[in-house]
């Protein structure tokens, strides 16, 4: 009996992954990534002559749970038309029976890679605000993302920020019109662990319990989400992830650093992160707009709602905000004193 080598098995697996695009308007170009449900390829839309990304289900199944989930993800994306959310162009079934959807091909870098090139804190905060815009829009449409993490944010070549991978999304308002805040019974998503190139990286792994009710990514997942309390999830579970994302943008880690680590994070920003990632949902920001507003206030040199400043901190912030103006006035007064001292002796 002859066994196949690992490389031969790998080639066979790759060959089996390649979708049959005959009868569609797409021509396969390359494989981009693998997710929990399927593989993402680049393809050329031959009618419109543009590159698209195709998310193709792993197995041929037009009416199974996985197929329904992929279709559901495509419909969620189609309902969320926003510059910060990747648009869906098409959905269908391939000749080999696999369900797919076509979306915009985003040329850019994942946030965790892109951020290495962005040194300034205000620039990082402005990126965070754009993520908040997209998530706030989804919340307004009754959709929770539930897997916000740097690997699911893309930054395009012109600085456009796109929230990707809505495979774990939960619809609060089904249809999306079954009634405000009504939980969609089909919304519970059973996510398999994602395979990634860097499996040891905690930011890359989506976790699952035996019943599949825990989904998300350690470090970015709210405590209630980690408990599998899916029925009671609301916007505040995404706010927890946004808080962890903000901390990642500022410190390179989603978790709060221990005091011994001597975190150099500004007190106001640390307070925003801590409030967003509070263990109890009631202690978090009630909406994405609120966290966004606090970050904007910080950028404008104003006091943030999450942090009560001491008089000394207020004075420091006032000085930083009006530094040049204060220097000009000081220069004027100094010059006046010098004139008095030296011109009228």
């Amino acid at each position: 009996m002859k066994f196949l080598s690992d490389s031969a098995l790998e080639r066979l697996r790759d060959a089996a992954e390649v979708p049959d695009l005959s009868g569609t308007r797409y021509r396969l170009l390359d494989r981009i990534a693998r997710g929990g449900m399927g593989v993402v390829f680049t393809a050329e839309d031959e009618n419109l002559q543009r590159r698209v990304a195709l998310k193709v289900l792993d197995v041929p199944a037009t009416d199974g749970d996985l197929a329904n989930r992929l279709l559901r993800e495509a419909r969620v994306l189609a309902a969320l038309e926003h510059p910060g959310i990747v648009p869906v162009h098409d959905v269908g079934t391939l000749a080999d029976g696999r369900v797919f959807y076509a979306m915009k091909f985003v040329e850019g870098k994942r946030l965790d890679k892109f951020i290495e090139t962005v040194a300034s804190v205000p620039d990082r905060l402005r990126i965070f605000l754009r993520i908040c815009d997209a998530v706030a829009f989804a919340h307004a449409r009754g959709v929770l993302h539930r897997d916000l993490k740097p690997a699911n944010i893309m930054v395009g070549p012109f600085g456009e920020v796109l929230v990707m991978d809505w495979g774990l999304a939960k619809i609060l308002r089904a249809g999306f019109s079954r009634g405000a805040n009504q939980v969609d019974p089909d919304a519970t998503v059973f996510e398999k662990p994602k395979q990634s190139a860097s499996a040891g990286d905690a930011t890359e792994i989506s976790v699952v319990t035996g019943h599949g009710t825990v989904m998300g990514t350690p470090g970015y997942m709210s405590p209630e989400q980690a408990r599998g309390d899916v029925e009671h999830l609301d916007a505040r579970c995404d706010i927890y992830s946004l808080g962890a994302l903000l901390r990642f943008l500022l410190t390179g880690r989603p978790e709060a650093a221990s005091p011994s680590n001597g975190s150099r994070l500004d007190k106001s920003l640390a307070a925003i992160c801590n409030k967003a990632t509070a263990d109890l949902p009631a202690e978090r920001y009630p909406s994405v707009q609120e966290i966004s507003l606090d970050v904007s206030r910080y950028l404008d040199g104003l006091a943030v709602g999450a942090h009560r400043e001491s008089l000394f901190e207020k004075a420091g912030r006032f000085y930083r905000r009006y530094r040049f103006f204060i220097l000009l006035i000081t220069a004027y007064l100094a010059m006046r004193v010098l004139i008095l001292l030296f011109m009228h002796r």
Binding site: Y332, M335, R336, H344
Partner: protein
């Protein structure tokens, strides 16, 4: 606050303070009221000019330069009419112009575009 109004108020206040500082010069203390009025008026003109400039040109460095130039020219005219105290009048007047030029660019509100 809009740029012209901010320039007007700041120019007037700084001009009045600038004029009031003449009190420390005993030789001109008797004319202090006239000096304060004149200096306030000078500050008003510099402030309005800096405010109008800030509405047309959105640049902090150019705003500072413009304020400096206007402050210098106005202070020079005043010093010329006084036949003296050139440095004491021109130096503070120019810095007041710079302050007003900076403030109108940095802190003045841009008017909202008209809607139809």
């Amino acid at each position: 606050m809009n740029k012209v109004l901010l320039g007007l108020l700041l120019g007037a206040v700084l001009g009045a303070i600038d004029g009031g500082s003449a009190w420390f010069t005993p030789a001109v203390r008797a004319q202090i009221v006239g000096i304060i009025f004149g200096s306030t008026f000078k500050g008003l003109i510099a402030g309005v000019a800096a405010g109008i400039f800030a509405r047309k040109v959105n640049s902090v460095p150019l705003g500072i330069l413009f304020g400096l130039a206007v402050g210098f020219v106005l202070a020079f005219i005043v010093a010329y009419l006084q036949h003296g105290y050139y440095l004491e009048i021109i130096l503070p007047g120019s810095i007041v112009g710079m302050i007003v030029g900076y403030a109108t660019q940095r802190y003045g509100a841009t008017p909202a575009p008209a809607t139809h």
